[in-house]
């Protein structure tokens, strides 16, 4: 390494890999990963979130998992917590839906209403 530019480049790249280890407030995407969630296909959903967040280099987003919240029939359930905003709950998620949530909600700030629990109509 021969320049400060190179040093800064390494710094940026390394920091992106480490930003989990701070107390800063971030957007949290929480995937329900209890037995019900996993059997309904939560793992590919979680992986899709991770891939998308990483691809877009979103530094203020954390992908995490949680247990069963009691609505097993609507799994995979994903909750998005944004600091200072109300929680958004997405239901019956798939990897494709996950990618759209990242693009539309996390990046552009528009909740994908049609996937939320509020739009769910019981048959």
């Amino acid at each position: 390494m021969k320049s400060i530019e190179e040093l800064n480049k390494i710094r940026q790249e390394a920091l992106a890999k480490m930003n989990l280890r701070t107390d800063e407030e971030r957007i949290r995407i929480v995937v329900g990963m209890a037995t019900c969630g996993i059997s309904a296909g939560a793992r590919p959903v979680l992986t899709a979130f991770l891939e998308e967040v990483s691809k877009r280099k979103l530094e203020n987003v954390v992908v995490s998992q949680t247990g069963c919240i009691g609505l097993c029939k609507l799994e995979p359930i994903v909750e998005v917590y944004e600091p200072g905003k109300e929680k958004v709950t997405y239901i019956e998620m798939t990897p494709e839906k996950a990618r759209r949530v990242v693009a539309q909600h996390i990046v552009n700030g528009n909740v994908v209403n049609e996937y939320t629990i509020g739009s769910y109509k019981s048959e």
């Binding site: 040093l7 790249e13 992106a16 890999k17 107390d23 979680l46 967040v53 995490s64």
Partner: protein
């Protein structure tokens, strides 16, 4: 780039390492792979977290969940429950991390909340064997700035303005030392890091070197630029194998990245660092003895002056600073003089790391702003004295320091106020004593250490400290005579005035300070042949109180020397001739009927 959703930080400091944290890390990685999580969860071995008492420690981010006393057999549960299913394993949490069923993150626990981590800023957070993690947390930015934007004088002025003082104990202004070395004339100059940490129970420097080795390398390189040196040495004791290994890895990585070696960052400045291992002699922490040792000679102090800044290593101007002093340098450059001076006190800015030990709940490493009171350190962060015992004194500064009694618990910790109390800041050992500790015996313990470690060059230290130890041994074994205490005082004053180096000059401090605050204990030993704390066995007799003894016979059955006699349901008696004062009977007696007198 692979983005992980969780980072598991396993403490790899010497404390946790000795309780198998390396195996815990391996097993954790295996289990994570088994569960198919290896692309989601990353395991990192870091430096010391500071709470060594509760080791091995593991922290899981992003939540900051703090597990303590983790055993190999717990690993599967953490992976299966927490990492796979997102359920925190409550039974393994650090004791204070659960309150009314709310789980606190690691930084909300009292032990950490009350600290200000400057020198330890990266310890327990980054992987010390990965230079990129150091760079991520602003590593080598200070060096880059110094080399490209600042003149040598500006660098020295900044260190001077910060008010940073030597963290090795004496508190000499660091900027001044740099200035002396820069101004000294010589074609070749050296920068040395004193990592010969020798106080019993002190491990501040070890933790910094194990947890954040690059901070020291970066600071030494800045110092090299400022004073005009191209060669640095780190003198570290061979008893610190993990620190030695990580330092060597760090040096190799810095060379690989072009942050050590020739033409650093295209500035035309060359600097390299080598390790020199010490054999563990306490006196080699004294700077001139350390220089002798690097030169390959027997570690013995030289006369001062000339000071190392003018004639040091191989007769050349040499800058010597302590590990913790260096660790403060990069962050002062990054965050500025005003920020640094806003921490601590007017005369002692910044923080100090202390190794808390002895009779205290949270044994470990703490970093506090200068000016924090002893009470805050011991009770606020340290968690107080175990088993509800009474605090008696705190020893600071190791064998060169002194004991501070209860009356002064509200003293703010800085260089001046500790010296005023007859102790010193020292390198940061802090040993807490409770009512069961005998102060005469503590003084004897430290003298025993200095007698062992005296290099023998000057008479005052070689013979003087031995005579003092002999008198202390006489007193603690119940053979003290009138006049002994006065003789101790006279010897102490003479040694202080005439010893060659800091080791000898400060060796009597433990005796002088205990005599100052606990003279009554010395007098009880000498004139009444009694040890008030019941610690000195030869001065104690074990007695069974007739009124409390129920004659159950437990003591009699458990006495290893058959010193107890008595019939069932009648009061028992200890034969003082046979009693070896082991204390077994006291432990066994269900009625508290046995006393030390």
């Amino acid at each position: 780039m692979n983005l992980y959703r969780a980072h598991v930080l396993v403490c790899g400091g010497t404390g946790c390492h000795s309780s198998n944290s390396d195996k815990i890390k391996e097993k954790m990685e295996d289990r994570i792979k088994e569960k198919g999580l290896e692309n989601e969860v990353k395991v990192v071995m870091t430096g010391c977290f500071g709470l060594c008492e509760s080791g091995p420690n593991v922290v899981v981010y992003p939540e900051g969940v703090f597990y303590s006393h983790v055993k190999l057999s717990d690993v599967d549960e953490i992976v299966d429950e927490h990492l796979l299913k997102g359920r925190v394993v409550k039974r393994l949490l650090f004791k204070e991390a659960v309150e009314e069923n709310i789980i606190k993150s690691v930084n909300e626990v009292d032990f950490y909340k009350k600290q200000t981590r400057v020198a330890l800023r990266n310890c327990g957070i980054i992987d010390p064997e990965n230079i990129e993690e150091y760079i991520a947390y602003d590593g080598y930015q200070a060096l880059a700035r110094a080399l490209t934007e600042m003149t040598r004088d500006e660098v020295i002025q900044l260190v001077k303005d910060s008010g940073l003082r030597g963290r090795g104990g004496a508190g000499f202004p660091t900027g001044l030392k740099w200035d002396f070395t820069k101004k000294a004339s010589g074609d070749k100059k050296y920068v040395v890091c004193n990592a010969d940490e020798g106080d019993p129970g002190a491990f501040m420097d070890r933790s910094i070197l194990e947890g954040d080795p690059h901070s020291v390398l970066e600071a030494m390189t800045i110092a090299g630029y400022a004073v005009g040196s191209d060669q640095g040495y780190i003198y570290i004791r061979a008893e610190y194998p993990i620190a030695v290994k990580r330092l060597q890895i760090a040096i190799n990585q810095a060379r690989e990245y072009g942050l050590l070696g020739e033409n650093i960052l295209n500035s035309g400045f060359n600097f390299d660092i080598e390790l020199r291992l010490g054999a563990g002699a306490f006196v080699c922490g004294e700077e001139t003895a350390l220089i002798e040792s690097i030169e390959g000679k027997r570690g013995m102090p030289r006369n001062k002056p000339p000071f190392p800044a003018n004639e040091g290593l191989w007769g050349k101007p040499t800058l010597i600073n302590n590990v913790e002093t260096y660790a403060n340098i990069p962050v002062i450059f990054q965050r500025g003089v005003d920020w640094f001076r806003s921490i601590g006190t007017e005369k002692s800015p910044g923080t100090k790391v202390f190794a808390l030990g002895g009779k205290i709940e949270n044994t470990g490493l703490v970093e506090i702003p200068m000016g924090t009171t002893l009470r805050d350190i011991i009770y606020g962060i340290g968690g107080g004295i175990p088993k509800g015992k009474d605090f008696k004194a705190v020893q600071t500064g190791g064998p060169s320091g002194g004991c501070i009694p209860k009356e002064y618990l509200d003293t703010p910790v800085d260089y001046e106020s500790l010296t005023k109390l007859g102790s010193i800041m020292g390198s940061g050992g802090m040993i807490v004593m409770d009512e069961d500790n005998c102060m005469v015996d503590i003084a004897r313990f430290f003298l025993d250490f200095t007698v062992d470690e005296s290099c023998g060059k000057c008479t005052a230290c070689r013979i003087g400290t031995r005579r003092m130890l002999e008198i202390l041994e006489k007193i603690t074994s119940g053979k003290g005579e009138p006049g002994d205490i006065e003789k101790l005082e006279e010897l102490a004053n003479n040694i202080k005035d005439s010893a060659l180096c800091g080791l000898g000059q400060t060796a009597p401090n433990p005796v002088v300070s205990t005599l100052k605050y606990f003279r009554d204990e010395y007098e009880a030993h000498v004139y009444e042949k009694r040890c008030p704390s019941g610690h000195c066995r030869r001065l104690v007799t074990f007695v069974i109180r007739e009124d409390l003894c129920k004659g159950c016979g437990l003591c009699k059955r458990n006495c290893p020397n058959d010193a107890i006699t008595g019939e069932v349901r009648e009061a028992h008696v200890i034969d003082p001739e046979k009693c070896i004062k082991c204390g077994t009977c006291i432990e066994k007696c269900p009625f508290g009927a046995i006393e030390k007198r």
